[in-house]
């Protein structure tokens, strides 16, 4: 009974913290205290909760009276259901850990306005709900809440470029949010159900899909493209990452990748017999991978380069999920987990560069190793980590991706994955050279910026990358078991 209360607490507690922080706006010391305490409590809750299911308002699974209601299945859930399993635990632990890091770095940077901290916690609550929920409309509501919170985090930068990026983001979120809700409405009209487990049973029992249900799949797929940042929405998402504060951009890209994973699993569970969905996912993923890495190679600004690398890696995760076999889906999810760690290190390094040099243009930087040798070394290790060099974690996940692509019959895709790794390596090592090793520089470093918080956090993250790279089965085996048991 107590454990069942802890599951919605993972969503409710950050919301309460956000309301408190917003209420105490302009009282900086109270906001700082609330932020630190709430983020540490938010990390503890997923670790102490046991696996289980929470039924809101106690509505249990009941009989559906199929003769009267014309539902296709005999038992339905009557309320909203939250399910907590090993996959949710891994994702939520990583999400809350990264939120702690971002909160500490934002406090370090004196960005402790109550509204900013509130938006970080609202985005944490939304992504937690998206990962936990089993109800489709609840999923949609928290996607829309997350959109507003992320736009607010970008608007807080107070530059015109950031305002324009947030405006574009909100316009396209209306299109895609309307698309998702229209798909949910059509599914409700055809099957009369909103719970994802019940929908998957009903669609399996219902035989061939009617045209209305096909339209629903198409519309929800468009919404999936937007939430994950795949083509054609990769521009909008990379614009958001580029214009936010770099620490916040690390959080934004993590949230996008985890929503990609959660929404893909939901889609594949509901429309499980439908092979065309996986082919469409795969096609858009390949497109995003290519365009993301080609654009990343052409950039001359560090944050823009990193945002395109993040978009390309999201495409790689989607490629793993689009290939369709249990092996490839679990490889894709494993790659998402590995990739957010290495991208976070790179974004935090960009945050340090921004704070000490006041610019991130690669032309104007140089000789960084003399000022910050530890950060330069760790950026080099993170470059190795993100390109799939052993013994780091992305090597394990990209190796499994390549193996699963060959086993699924698409050997050419393994060539593409290898090309993408090489391209990512070249793009990021170019940035590393121009920041840390290039002989001349046009800007002076700010001597007051020590960066101890940055150094501590990225040392912790690179140690995690190394640990997962040396012992991958600790993270990979639970994921594989869950995907096999889901039967997607």
């Amino acid at each position: 009974m107590f454990n069942s209360t802890l599951i919605p607490l993972m969503v409710v507690f950050p919301l309460i913290a956000a309301i408190l922080a917003n209420f105490l706006h302009q009282k900086d010391r109270s906001v700082k205290t609330i932020a630190i305490i709430s983020s540490i409590v938010a990390i503890i809750i997923p670790l102490i909760t046991l696996y289980g299911v929470h039924l809101f308002s106690g509505h249990i699974r009941t009989e559906s009276f199929p003769e009267i209601s014309k539902l296709l299945i005999p038992d339905v859930y009557m309320g909203i259901v939250y399910a907590y399993g090993p996959l949710q635990k891994i994702l939520l632990a990583l999400l809350t850990l990264m939120t702690v890091f971002v909160v500490f770095l934002s406090i370090n940077r004196k960005l402790i306005s109550g509204v900013y901290v509130a938006m970080i916690f609202i985005s944490l609550a939304s992504v937690s709900a998206i990962i936990l929920t089993d109800d489709f409309f609840n999923f949609f509501v928290f996607i829309e809440v997350l959109t507003v919170a992320q736009a607010a985090l970008v608007i807080a930068v107070k530059e015109t470029k950031a305002h324009k990026a947030a405006f574009k983001y909100m316009i396209f979120s209306s299109v895609s949010g309307g698309s998702i809700l229209l798909g949910i409405a059509l599914l409700l009209g055809v099957y009369g159900l909103l719970n994802m487990t019940d929908l998957s049973n009903a669609i399996t029992a219902g035989g061939a899909l009617k045209p209305v249900a096909l339209t629903a799949i198409a519309l929800i797929t468009v919404g999936w493209l937007y939430e994950s940042g795949l083509f054609p929405f990769h521009i909008v998402k990379s614009n958001m990452y580029e214009n936010a504060m770099p620490e916040t951009a690390a959080l934004l890209q993590l949230q996008s990748k985890f929503i990609l994973v959660a929404m893909s699993i939901a889609l594949l569970r509901i429309f499980s017999g439908y092979a065309l969905l996986k082919s469409v996912m795969l096609g858009f993923a390949i497109f995003t991978v290519v365009i993301g890495s080609v654009m990343a190679l052409q950039q001359t600004d560090l944050r823009k380069l990193l945002s395109f690398v993040a978009v390309g890696q999201a495409g790689l995760v989607a490629m793993g999920i689009g290939l369709g076999t249990s092996f490839s889906i679990s490889a894709g999810i494993f790659h998402a987990i590995n990739d957010v760690l290495s991208m976070a290190i790179l974004f935090f390094v960009a945050g340090f560069i921004l704070e000490s040099y006041k610019t991130t243009k690669l032309d104007q930087l140089g000789e960084g190793l003399q000022k910050a040798p530890l950060i330069g070394t760790i950026m080099f290790l993170a470059t190795l980590a993100i390109s799939g060099v052993p013994p780091f974690n992305s090597y394990q996940s990209e190796f499994r991706l390549i193996q699963s692509a060959v086993e699924a019959g698409y050997a050419e895709l393994s060539v593409l994955v290898i090309l993408l790794s090489v391209a990512t390596f070249i793009a990021v090592i170019k940035a590393f050279y121009m920041i840390f090793m290039k002989p001349s520089t046009n800007t002076e470093a700010d001597p007051k910026v020590k960066g101890t918080m940055y150094k501590t956090i990225i040392v912790i993250l690179i140690a995690m990358c190394l640990f997962i790279g040396l012992f991958p089965n600790m993270v990979y085996d639970p994921i594989y078991n869950i995907i096999v048991s889901l039967g997607v």
């Binding site: 396209f172 052409q298 032309d363 050419e412 060539v415 593409l416 090309l419 391209a423």
Partner: protein, 95 residues
């Protein structure tokens, strides 16, 4: 942007060009592989020749990916239409 003429810019440009060409070739091969093998071989050669005539491709790709709202809207509508057509045509409901 002045560094694009120097060493790093040229290296990145060549890498992205090579990546673009090989990706188009791989995508074409993936689609044509399901047809018969003559079409596969001839089609790959045609794609390769077509790309080599339009080199450099990467600058066109970069211009198509600027963050202008009109360009993104065009691609969004194109994507919605393509997805709807693919789902309807693939399921055999309409023709």
């Amino acid at each position: 942007m002045e560094h694009k003429g120097k060493g790093f810019g040229i290296g990145s440009g060549f890498t992205s060009e090579f990546l673009m060409i090989s990706s188009i070739l791989i995508a074409g091969m993936l689609v044509l592989r399901t047809a018969n093998s003559v079409l596969f071989a001839l089609g790959s050669l045609v794609i390769l020749a077509a790309i080599l005539f339009t080199v450099p491709t990467v600058f066109r790709v970069e211009k198509e990916n600027t963050d202008s709202i009109n360009l993104t809207s065009f691609y969004v509508v194109l994507t919605i239409a393509v997805i709807l057509i693919v789902f309807f045509a693939g399921s055999g409901v309409l023709i």
